[in-house]
């Protein structure tokens, strides 16, 4: 583990790309009390590994991503990216948000070129790369459309291109496709996997959909009801490349689904009981 602090030793998938060590995150609630989102959470993701995180609502899934991205700092514990503690937003991290986070006043081209332009890439190169990525996510011809002129699925493609153009070695995805209808979601999952396969960044993919988690991931981490901590980890040994629609009928998939659902079920029930308490005190 000690060598993880030295970036020179980071090869061959040995040192984790992302590591959380006994991380606790507390927020100050509007009424002044402290609210613990995650408690004593430890997990790691190897370079090139696709890790899905599932858990009941309010278990701190999104908080975990914000900590890795450097948008929030942990209250206790350590967050390491490529062996270095996260103290600020790191350039090798990409983040795809749950809600639409593309800039509505910029056309598609301006949105996709945003990252390189922020980072000081010459305008000409940024535009050329952006056109390339727009084509790769299947939006060629829509360069000058504004986000409101696109469908939900197309806006997600813009967000995907906007994130991937920065060539992140580490990719955070916060329920990126949850707002889409079931068919569009499966198409997007497949396209995400084929784009991921080109550069193989380490991914934490947060979702509430266990089927989606198993279909895309190498490893599924189940979090407990909030304050969240890791309940169990399940390696997913399904072969790649995968077609997310078809892999659901694989007997191995069904078996994995049952095992993971068994771990997840109790947490979901607990979370539900808790919200029911809050509604009827």
């Amino acid at each position: 583990m000690a060598q993880a602090h030295n970036p020179n030793h980071l090869q061959g998938g040995q040192a984790p790309a992302i590591e959380l060590r006994s991380v606790t995150k507390r927020f100050r609630a509007p009424d002044g009390s402290a609210y613990t989102a995650i408690r004593d959470l430890s997990m790691s993701v190897a370079p090139g590994e696709f890790c899905a995180v599932v858990g009941p609502t309010g278990c701190g899934k999104s908080t975990t991503l914000s900590l890795v991205a450097g948008l929030e700092m942990p209250s206790a514990g350590e967050v390491l990216v490529n062996g270095e503690p996260v103290t600020r937003i790191r350039p090798e991290v990409g983040f795809m948000f749950q809600t639409d986070a593309v800039f509505p006043w910029r056309p598609v081209l301006g949105n996709v070129a945003a990252g390189p332009l922020f980072r000081g890439v010459p305008r000409k190169d940024a535009i050329r790369d952006a056109r390339d990525w727009i084509r790769r996510v299947g939006l060629a011809g829509f360069e000058n459309h504004f986000p409101h002129q696109l469908s939900g699925g197309m806006r997600k493609r813009v967000a995907l291109a906007q994130t991937l153009i920065n060539a992140p070695g580490i990719l955070m995805m916060d329920e990126p496709f949850s707002a889409l209808d079931a068919q569009t979601r499966q198409i997007m999952s497949d396209e995400l996997l084929s784009l991921w396969d080109l550069a193989r960044p380490a991914v934490i993919f947060v979702t509430h959909d266990l089927e989606e988690a198993i279909a895309v991931a190498d490893k599924v981490v189940v979090l407990t009801v909030g304050p969240g901590t890791v309940k169990a980890e399940f390696p997913v040994d399904l072969p790649r490349p995968r077609r997310t629609q078809e892999i659901r009928f694989d007997p191995r998939f069904v078996e994995l689904y049952e095992r993971i659902w068994h771990a997840l079920r109790d947490e979901v029930r607990l979370a539900y009981a808790r919200t029911a308490e809050q509604v009827a005190p």
Partner: protein, 294 residues
């Protein structure tokens, strides 16, 4: 690629509209409706001025107190042909416009800068918040008297009053707009590599632009009020002075004529601001701007 999701281009819409009889009928109906609205408006103007003119001529209203529309037109013609007591009519309009425009530009710039700065930097908001609330609670028109004492009867005292009036309107909107920026957009920009400076100018300001532009309509109204009130309090030129002079000589037609000119100026400015708004906010979904508006 899912072709069902492809939005129609303008060309497609036009092609549809000219081919489809249903669409043609709807368009014809909208046009007829627009003509009807204009006719009603014209009828109201004719009825109002007609009743006024007739009431004065019939002796129901006192001409010396209330004037009448025809005399207002004569007054306007006189001003245009022979100039006013203080110089040509164009000069008076221009002086007032100059005061309003210079003050408007300075006030809007200061308002946006301060609003965005205080909205972005909480420390500044905490320090300056109470002062700004205090200054805002002063009826700002009374400052006009002080500015005339400080800066004299020239253009400077009016510009200062306009700046003060415009500033607060724009400031509060820019501040609120900055506060309401979607936190996800800011987080996204930061992860994509934006510096705090880039976040402010490329995310916060465009996002707050909806709020800022909404305030410009009111702010320009205030700019005209400031310029004219400043002139009423003491001036050498301007539409406010024309009103003041006409009042002093018991000439209601002069007051009405000046009011008419101000209304035309205000409407022109409003139209220009709407043009700018359309240009700057063209990224917004059309249904937001297609709502019936005044």
């Amino acid at each position: 690629m899912n072709t069902n999701n492809v939005p129609l281009s303008l060309g497609d819409v036009v092609a549809l509209a000219t081919s489809n009889p249903e669409v043609l009928r709807i368009r014809q109906r909208t046009r007829r409706r627009r003509i009807l609205v204009r006719l009603c408006q014209l009828a109201i103007v004719v009825a109002f001025t007609g009743t006024w003119e007739f009431s004065v001529r019939a002796g129901w209203l006192d001409e010396f107190t209330y004037g009448r529309p025809y005399l207002v037109l004569l007054q306007l013609r006189d001003w245009i042909n022979h100039g006013t007591e203080v110089g040509s009519l164009g000069q008076q309009v221009w002086v007032t416009m100059e005061e309003a425009l210079i003050g408007f530009v300075i006030g809007v710039s200061l308002g946006v800068l301060c609003g965005v700065a205080l909205g972005r930097i909480e420390f500044l908001a905490n320090v300056f918040g109470p002062f700004i609330k205090m200054m805002n609670s002063i009826p700002r028109i009374v400052l006009g008297a002080i500015f005339v004492m400080w800066f004299g009867l020239g253009i400077l005292s009016k510009i200062t009053l306009v700046v003060v009036l415009v500033f607060f309107v724009v400031f509060f909107n820019a501040f609120q707009g900055t506060r309401e920026v979607d936190r996800n957009l800011v987080a996204n920009a930061r992860v994509l590599g934006a510096s705090p400076h880039q976040v402010t100018w490329q995310i916060v300001v465009p996002s707050a632009m909806t709020w800022i532009i909404a305030s410009l309509h009111i702010a320009f109204g205030f700019a005209l009020i400031g310029a004219i009130v400043g002139e009423l309090l003491g001036a050498q030129h301007g539409l406010g002075l024309l009103i003041e002079t006409a009042k002093g000589t018991f000439n209601p037609s002069g007051v009405y004529a000046a009011m008419l000119i101000i209304a035309v100026v205000a409407l022109t400015a409003e139209w220009l601001i709407t043009l700018i708004e359309r240009r700057l906010l063209r990224w917004r979904p059309p249904q937001l701007s297609a709502l019936p508006e005044l």
